[in-house]
């Protein structure tokens, strides 16, 4: 149990730090994250620039702080979009079954057949490459996997005796969905949501890399990673620090996800 406690503390500290940095980045950064200075190109970490400077002489730490807000915002909203639509679809199809289920699932399966990133690319060309476009595109791209997980959970839950018991008590199907089915889906949803947070961070980097992410010069961790790539040999810090930020965030999110899942499960309380 000690180990779980430690995991919880690490997760909370990492996510707490991330939020502080992201909020701070919106108000104040050591340098202007967009300020170009050709005299200070590709400088390694130093007391003046703690995390070095990039190919345009922009301060990496300032850009990371500014980018944290954008990246976290994109990931959070994308996950929220995917979870909301996916859960609604999953519960609905899993509970109603029949033709509605078949039609909706055929559609989501078709979506699933595309790689998520390809689907997002296609959607981005339609909605336009900006922050909202990314959220919408990635959100829709990840919806099918949520719907499938939720539907599977619902299908196994609906055969449980306590669902039948609720039915015998005369509860409406809507009430049973809200009171019994949804709360029991939370465990898998949190696990899925937290790992999806990671996928979205990475997908956003990939989209930026392809030039379809948040348009430069605005920094995100993904496009910093992407634009640092050509200089990896001379200036390793350009890829290293955004990479570390992404990794630590993923670690924190996953640890926090486990804590939340256990918190929401009465069986795990008090352990």
């Amino acid at each position: 149990m000690k180990r779980r406690r430690l995991n919880a503390v690490i997760g909370i500290v990492l996510i707490g730090a991330l939020l502080i940095v992201a909020i701070l980045g919106m108000i104040w950064t050591p340098y202007d994250p967009l300020g170009i200075s050709f005299g200070a190109r590709l400088k390694p970490p130093s007391p003046a620039h703690w995390l070095g400077t990039d190919e345009f002489g922009r301060d990496v730490m300032s850009r990371l702080m500014k980018g944290a807000a954008t990246s976290v915002r994109i990931s959070c909203f994308t996950v929220a979009v995917a979870l909301t639509i996916g859960t609604a679809l999953g519960i609905f199809t899993g509970f109603v079954r029949g033709w509605t289920d078949r039609v909706i699932m055929a559609f989501t399966n078709a979506l699933l057949a595309f790689p998520g990133i390809l689907l997002a690319l296609a959607l981005l060309t339609v909605v336009g490459a900006n922050e909202y476009g990314i959220i919408l595109a990635l959100g829709i791209a990840y919806t099918p996997s949520v719907a499938r997980v939720v539907r599977g959970t619902v299908l196994s839950l609906r055969e449980k005796e306590y669902i039948e018991a609720a039915r015998v008590m005369g509860n409406s199907e809507l009430f049973i969905m809200a009171r019994h089915i949804l709360p029991n889906c939370i465990g898998p949803l949190i696990v899925l949501g937290t790992s999806m947070f990671g996928w979205v961070l990475l997908a956003e980097s990939a989209l930026s890399f392809l030039g379809l992410g948040v348009p430069p010069p605005a920094p995100t961790w993904g496009n910093m990673l992407a634009s640092g790539r050509p200089f990896m040999v001379q200036a390793v810090w350009l890829g290293l620090f955004p990479g570390i930020c992404i990794s630590l965030t993923l670690l924190g999110i996953n640890l926090l996800g486990d804590v939340l899942r256990d918190r929401f499960d009465p069986r795990m309380r008090g352990l």
């Binding site: 449980k160 005796e161 306590y162 039948e164 018991a165 609720a166 039915r167 015998v168 008590m169 005369g170 509860n171 009430f175 009171r179 019994h180 709360p183 029991n184 499960d265 009465p266 069986r267």
Partner: protein, 542 residues
């Protein structure tokens, strides 16, 4: 006489916490002897048996005592020597026939596995031995069975095949851990008698582990009673039954169901009746008819038991009457009126018909507190204030013998018996006039079962609800029912007053069902005598 198995002062603990799960147990088993170990969950009976074959779970540590098999201390054996012993000298049959055979291997290959490992001989000899054994266990077409897969056989047949795979190697000891608990009473008896026949022919000793004292008593020479890791009592089977020395043993004997005096059920219009009920299950090979036109009625205050083996349709009948299944034909009448899902009659029926399910672990939502669970039953009751509701919940808890503090607990914090009490409270808190109980006590331990059953009957008397009591356990039925309905393959084959069915059954199938359970008679000395009905004397004592 040298003992085959000699357990001396065995103590097992859970590693880390130091909880003692088997406490200083000594027993011995002679070659060819049939020894029963009886105990409820948590008695340590399974761990004891697993220790003999060296298969206790990794978390369990032996802190004292020795186990000798054929004079050899098994703690000194190398893992390789231990593996040679398993299967070859000691065989084991597990509880769950559905999962103890590998679903992706043919029966022939599974049976051959042990022979290849432990016995000399070529493929033709192995095949001959396997075919011979399959014939022995009553497989109609052994050649076909060789290439068949486990899912093509019923639970009882699978347990026979499991038995065959173990007995092929002619072990000196067979450990049977609840070998027939998952099977219905009739199949249970067939499998057990086959098991004893095979072991007697090979001179194999049997260690039979079960919670079911009457079953163990029927087939064993000697019985060991265990409780919470302690060995309570061991003696000859007849002696234990007739003259139990320990209070716990007496408690076990008293918990066995016995016939209660017949009650007068007032004549009246039936509260619930079904007419020509037909239920079909759609399947890949066309629809399967589970119920072939059932007619049944339940009087006010009457307990009607529906009995039958697995596949008899008794559970389907209960679910259809509860409105969980849509019947293909027929009607359900409540208080003389046919109910239809579309109108007011359905609502009245829903308020008055409740159900208690079999599995207390699955029938309570794990994310709700006990108070919320019971409160949910009151949700659709009209005109109830919040305070009245809270009072009714506490009253409901009190009625089933649970304290107020349980209202804030979650199901996982409760034992199986407590959970089933909650399930009963949830069913009766609304004061229904009709309760369907589907195997309400079969998942519970013997002594807990007796308590829960007594509670259920007391509530039935107090509130006067009618009850449809579905069970495969005729012992329990004998205790609770006013009237008995016997079902086989989706049809009612016999029905009548309890005493008439139990004493003068007309249908052959009813006789077969009854032959699987004992009639109890109290004898002086605090013990009981078991009488077997419609049957030759049990095999073990012959």
């Amino acid at each position: 006489m040298t003992a085959l198995v000699e357990v001396d002062g065995l103590t097992l603990e859970v590693g880390g916490t130091g909880t003692v799960v088997v406490n200083n147990v000594s027993l011995s088993l002679a070659p060819g002897e049939v020894l029963g170990i009886v105990g409820e969950s948590g008695s340590g009976k399974t761990l004891l048996a697993r220790a003999v074959i060296g298969l206790e779970p990794p978390a369990i540590r032996r802190t004292a005592g020795t186990i000798r098999f054929e004079g050899q201390d098994i703690a000194t054996l190398t893992p390789k020597a231990m593996r040679a012993l398993r299967g070859s000298r000691i065989g084991m049959v597990f509880q769950e026939p559905m999962t103890s055979l590998n679903p992706s291997m043919t029966i022939g290959r599974q049976l051959e596995e042990g022979l290849v490992l432990h016995r000399a001989g070529d493929a033709a000899q192995r095949r001959a031995a396997i075919l011979d054994m399959l014939r022995r266990i009553g497989i109609a077409d052994p050649e076909a069975a060789l290439v068949a897969y486990p899912h093509q056989f019923s639970g009882g047949m699978r347990q026979r095949i499991m038995l065959a795979s173990v007995m092929l190697l002619k072990p000196a000891l067979l450990i049977a851990d609840e070998p027939t608990t998952a099977l219905d009473a009739v199949v249970q008896r067939e499998v057990l008698e086959l098991m004893l026949e095979l072991t007697r022919d090979h001179g194999t000793a049997v260690l039979m582990i079960s919670h079911d004292l009457s079953m163990v008593a029927r087939y064993t020479d000697r019985v060991v009673v265990m409780c919470r890791g302690d060995l309570i009592e061991q003696n000859d089977t007849a002696e234990i039954l007739a003259r139990p020395q320990q209070p716990y043993t007496r408690q076990l004997l008293n918990a066995m169901p016995h016939r209660s005096p017949a009650r007068e059920v007032p004549e009246g219009a039936p509260i619930v009746a079904v007419r020509g009920l037909v239920v079909d299950y759609p399947g890949k090979q066309g629809t399967k008819r589970a119920l072939h036109g059932i007619d049944l009625s339940v009087q006010p205050r009457e307990v009607v038991a529906v009995v039958g083996g697995s596949g008899s349709g008794k559970t389907t009948l209960g679910r259809a009457i509860a409105g969980l299944l849509k019947p293909s034909a027929g009607e359900i009448l409540f208080a003389g009126r046919a109910i239809a899902k579309s109108d007011e009659s359905w609502r009245a029926y829903r308020l008055n018909c409740q159900m208690v399910f079999q599995d207390p672990y699955a029938s309570l939502d794990p994310r709700m507190t006990i108070g919320q669970l019971i409160g949910e039953a009151l949700r659709v009751v009209p005109d109830l204030t919040r305070a009245q509701k809270a009072a009714r919940i506490l009253e409901g808890l009190d009625e089933v013998g649970l304290e107020k503090k349980f209202a804030d607990r979650y199901p996982h914090e409760l034992s199986g018996g407590q959970r089933q009490r909650v399930a009963i409270a949830r069913a009766v808190v609304r004061r229904p006039s009709f309760v369907i109980a589907d195997e309400p006590v079969s998942a519970l331990d013997v002594t807990v079962r007796a308590q829960v059953l007594a509670l259920f009957l007391e509530l039935q008397q107090r509130h006067g609800f009618s009850c449809l009591f579905i069970s495969h356990d005729l012992g329990v039925v004998e205790q609770v029912a006013d009237r008995v309905v016997v079902m086989q393959q989706g049809r009612i084959i016999e029905q009548g007053d309890r005493d008439q069915i139990f004493d003068h059954p007309q249908a052959d199938y009813t006789r077969v069902l009854l032959s699987a359970i004992p009639a109890l008679e109290a004898v002086s000395g605090g013990g009981v005598q078991l009488k077997w009905r419609f049957d030759a004397p049990p095999l073990a004592s012959s």
